[in-house]
Subunit: 426 residues, 4 copies
């Protein structure tokens, strides 16, 4: 078996071959083609072609250190499509949220852990895109991240302040030369141990979100210490616990001065959450695609298991939920793209609407991704829980999906606040 | 209390007034406005304005026989917007599926049982629209139905053949004069006892779907007998059990000859199911709107109950699911409208896709509507189950929503078949 | 068809006959016999025999006013088995919670609305049993209720104080002659309009639970006014909204003086909630029994629908959940009975444990009863939602099951408080 | 931190210490004490004491190879309590299913992966217990397994015959000397690579379950080859893929001749499935105990998160479901024990009932265990998915729980068959 993922083969050759990246892409495309514009369908197929070639050329089994692949993916312009990056003379086309959705689908089917890892790079890209102010070092960092030459991470969450990002304990003290000295601890940063560039949030006064600043940090500096923490569900992604000890940040690296950080933290949250929604949708499709192919081939009691209603019907239900969420997400992406096209950026009013919409889709998509992976694995029996396919990666990743980007409770809190505000308008 | 619905008041004046049709419309509009084109938002508001006026003018308490309202609603062009009906010199604008969605939302917030009853009229309109062949009597029936002067129903389901529409027992025997003689029993026809026009399916040979014909019947003819059956969940809608005894159908009333009926039966099914999806979405919104207003006003333990996370969070989750389904349904409606605009009708290939999509959204929306009504009623406590608001109607209707338009199992069957066909393309 | 329930027949004779009370009892007994002691199985069968005979003798169709049946049921000793009632020289054997479970199962299969209505009588019996203090009039009321000669209700819930029973607005003012004058409004009292005896809670100071008293009231007195409210889900049960205007309660009718009422209100709550659990379990079994019989007989596509996994598997899952809850409830009933046998009453420590257990099983059973009724109705298609069987009653009743005895949120609140207390013991 | 499980600490000392084995046991005991007989509560506490001492003495961090611990656990009589093993002169007291439940609870709180691994030993013990026929070598194997000196596994599942155990491909050919030659492949055997003794099922004729035999195999023999397969969710449990190449089994090792194997395979299935139920219940309790302790200590927004209803209420619901299943399982265990006490073994009629009951509780418990672990991990945020506590092990194990002992579909199939049989009795 070419590109064998697990050491001991638990699934027969015929099925493993049918589960190839190419076939899985085909299944996905048949599902989406009627609902995509030509431009986006073409881009999806082009990205898929790249990953099929990339997998073949490098004999990839998806047990490798995926961080090594990122430069080549960056060269292809597939790290993010959120912007055309004309500031870097890139001119990505198509770009925008629908394009980003397509990119994520293609990337996730290829390697889900890679996709999640690259997602953390995007989180570092976003603030640089908005706050580079044409400062050379910021443009340089942005370019290195967008092209995949370097990796990035953002540092918000702290050991004693998980969901409560506003009451930070990490401090930033301004020095006489205009630089800032950072001290404190952060935890659960995706890419932390691999990051060349980090975006760090810190406050001048502990627990006071109004004094928050936003800093770009070169992780080769003194004062940055990182330990890799073990999240067994994503064994190839490096997550970190970082300690800052008199970590000195020169003035040109200060993206947001104390007082600006809080707003900067929240400004990108909608789009970031939509990014997570897209990721979750991609994982659900990947799991369902595996299960559909498997159930159409695996025989038990002399019949392909799809034809047993006890298998085929629950699978159909998962497919329905995934399609429903996909159509909804596409709708939102297209609307955001339209607004950006029309107004240059997302209008303030629409961004307020998006806050609720992103929370709604984030919470739904995280639940669906985990359900799809878990139930599809069940329908595949032993084949679903062994290490021969990407179901292994999907089962693991989706277990932790509700925690990133704000727990379920945070999303519920945002939503219930909105229900209060909407009532007041009546 | 004006327009009091129940005899004994269980909810206080302040809350009952806030639950007015006008306020509920406002809440809905705030939720949808960012995702609608101006044309559709305007039409939604216009339809809402009509129903607010209609309710006030007639002092409606929603305990009335709604069938009496239909002519006036028809005059306003609010029975269906599926077509512009230029064949009747109507030129409804806007029309199409998105417009139909708007019309249904406005109508359902006004009166859910009316909306479901009018839905059965639309089911009779559809085959006439496609198969009138400019025959006078058919055009006449079509016009009477579209304008609400008359009511209609379709007769498919039989006592011993529920989900299995193809193995019918009702027979049609051709007579020497070209007319057909119908004999048999049908059951569960919405509007059956109120229908002036009926569309009946029957076969020349029992159990043989290939011999099916489609007939337009004037219910004043001899041979048509109808009993009202008691479905306690929709007390104001009349459902029927019909017996045909030598019911004679003249040639010009034969919409589809034996052999054509089966195809005719299935051809409209996608769009009909989408109609049901829209109805379900509207009911979910109606229930959620009631609960959001109530939870923002009702105090327990000295605090509005929305602020208890035990109330506010589950409500937020229902709202999220309803928004998700709404965005997805809007996407499908817009895409269907685009195709029809482009090609004049839904292209065959896209109609095949729609078969799966309609089954997916139908099964999801039926479950969501019942969940939303049940859970919102719970969150409203006694106020949710008494007869003072439309929650009464919503609780009842949503209990039977999975059965109309094909049970959950029928939808799952269609979907799992599609998963087989998609696999074969790989 | 003998004993036809609905006017228009929607289900064929063969199936309707198989759904007879006798057959449904048989199915239930096969499920339970391995898990019951002989004494309880025998009592269950004896009660079943009574109801089969009662139904036949009286040609009951379950559309009747069931309140008229209660005297005869009381004569048979089947109104409650919570106690042997030796105080009334009754000596019911078997008695206790397991016996009460059996009694409820037999009664609910016969007529669910009757069973719920009689449950309200029991709520009035409990405080009299504990607080009669051998006062003649209280013993008289107790006897009339236990023997079914009279009906009773308890008045806790108020229009503005639903779940918050402690902050009552109904007042009791002591008069010079030792009597109390009651003023205020209550709402949602089961049996309210039919009650001869009422147990009323009222406070000397509004919103102050510590001043609560408990009163026995003869509803023929001046100052008691009751309106029947319309809860469409239980059309044959009479629920009331009561207004007390200078309702004078003589001293011997004062069960608990101001200050004692709050404790009296809570003391019986555990056992009352267990009573509701039992009721819910009985309804789930009743629904499942209907669906199992129907699915074994109804054919579609030439096969009994049980054999379609899409029908048989979900039905099996509901059956599993119902059996699980039944075994758990039986365990609790047997343990309570053992404690009472051993100590004469439920020991205080065990009663504290029961507070959490009752909340746990109450919330689970209410959800299960509604799910079982809804899903079984779906599996039965049109037959599940028409008025030909008791499914009609079960669908309606289970819609409101989460509200009685404390909403879901109240149960969750009790449970989460217990989790705090348990932690403190660590 | 003593006994630190993960390398990098993500949870603070205070909470980690409160999560100690001793405290978790205490929480469990407070929940169960009111529902256990003294004999079983005492045994539970004794087993807990052993594991607390064992953990301390050996400085266990639960990253170790647990197979090395089994001999000492065996010496303590804690490998299984299903029998008193008087055949081995053991006389375990208490024994039976309730005792086994207690043993499993104590063991699982200590180390879930160990508990699952030891469970596979029990699967090998069961057939030896029933079919040793006093043959020396079988008694020897039985003793070695019960005392933990050796490990065992059973070999049923094959690569191409997952859920379909009856249509085996592994063959057994009788030789002239009365021995059997085994050839074929098995897969997903827990303990396979660690087993000293294996119970193998094979057929004389492929796909013919009626020709099945049952064999005891010493894994040091030629012809036994095993590869460890990688199931990432249980990293410390060794699962195997075994290849038998002319594996020769002498006559005294033939537990069941061809023709007897099928019955032998099914005979123990009920009790085995109840064993899995117990395991699932234990895992649910373990997860909930972690979350309750954590939620009572972790503060966010200056308040312990349990007090946020958004956290405390879902946790309460999981606790309710787990208690419900526990009470139900206890009921079944007690009833089985009673029957065995009365009749010496489980009576045939009761064993038929148990087939349905075991399928019911197996399917419910597997779903609950996964839900409890997943949702508790979510409620614990990052602390729930890192490697600092046993939540890591619980999250992993519960992902695969539905597959062992027959998939959900197999349980549903058994149940729906029973619903058919029960109907026929009416």
């Amino acid at each position: 078996m070419v590109n064998q993922k697990g050491e001991v083969q638990c699934i027969n050759d015929e099925i493993l071959e049918k589960l190839s990246l190419k076939n899985r892409y085909k299944f996905l495309n048949y599902n989406l083609m009627s609902f995509l514009e030509k431009e986006h369908l073409d881009f999806l197929k082009k990205a898929q072609k790249f990953f099929i070639g990339f997998e073949n050329r490098n004999n990839i089994t998806h047990n490798e250190d995926f961080y090594e692949w990122i430069p080549e993916i960056g060269k292809e312009g597939l790290i993010t499509r959120i912007n055309n990056f004309d500031i870097l003379d890139m001119n990505f086309e198509p770009h925008g949220f629908t394009a980003e959705f397509m990119r994520t689908l293609a990337t996730d089917f290829f390697d889900p852990q890679l996709t999640m890892g690259m997602g953390a790079n995007i989180l570092a890209i976003n603030p640089l895109l908005v706050h580079h102010e044409d400062v050379d070092i910021r443009i340089k960092a942005l370019k290195e991240l967008v092209t995949g030459q370097k990796n990035g991470c953002i540092c918000i969450t702290e050991p004693e302040r998980g969901s409560d990002a506003v009451h930070m304990l990490t401090t930033c003290d301004q020095q006489e030369d205009g630089s800032y000295m950072l001290n404190g601890e952060k935890i659960y940063q995706t890419n932390g141990p691999k990051a060349d560039w980090a975006i760090i949030y810190a406050v001048t006064e502990k627990n006071s979100g109004n004094t928050m600043g936003q800093f770009l940090v070169d992780t080769s500096w003194d004062g940055w210490k990182v330990e890799r923490i073990n999240i067994p569900w994503t064994p190839r992604i490096h997550l970190g616990k970082e300690t800052f000890t008199n970590l000195k940040v020169p003035p040109e690296y200060v993206l947001g001065k104390p007082g600006q950080g809080r707003e900067y933290l929240f400004e990108g949250l909608n789009l970031e959450r939509l990014g997570i929604v897209i990721l979750n949708v991609a994982e659900a499709w990947n799991a369902i695609t595996h299960a559909v192919i498997y159930a159409n081939m695996r025989k038990q009691f002399d019949q392909m298991i799809l034809k047993f209603q006890g298998v085929g019907f629950p699978l159909a239900d998962l497919w329905a939920e995934t399609m429903n969420l996909t159509l909804s997400t596409l709708n939102v992406c297209q609307r955001v793209d339209k607004k950006v096209e029309q107004f240059g950026s997302v209008p303030k009013q629409f961004n307020l609407t998006l806050m609720a919409t992103a929370a709604q889709l984030k919470s739904i998509s995280a639940k669906l991704a985990q359900k799809a992976a878990y139930e599809c694995a069940n329908l595949m029996g032993g084949a679903g829980v062994c290490d021969n396919t990407l179901m292994q990666d999907l089962l693991g990743i989706t277990r932790i999906q509700e925690i990133g980007g704000g727990t379920r409770q945070i999303q519920q809190y945002i939503m219930s606040l909105t229900l209060r505000q909407l009532f007041k308008l009546l």
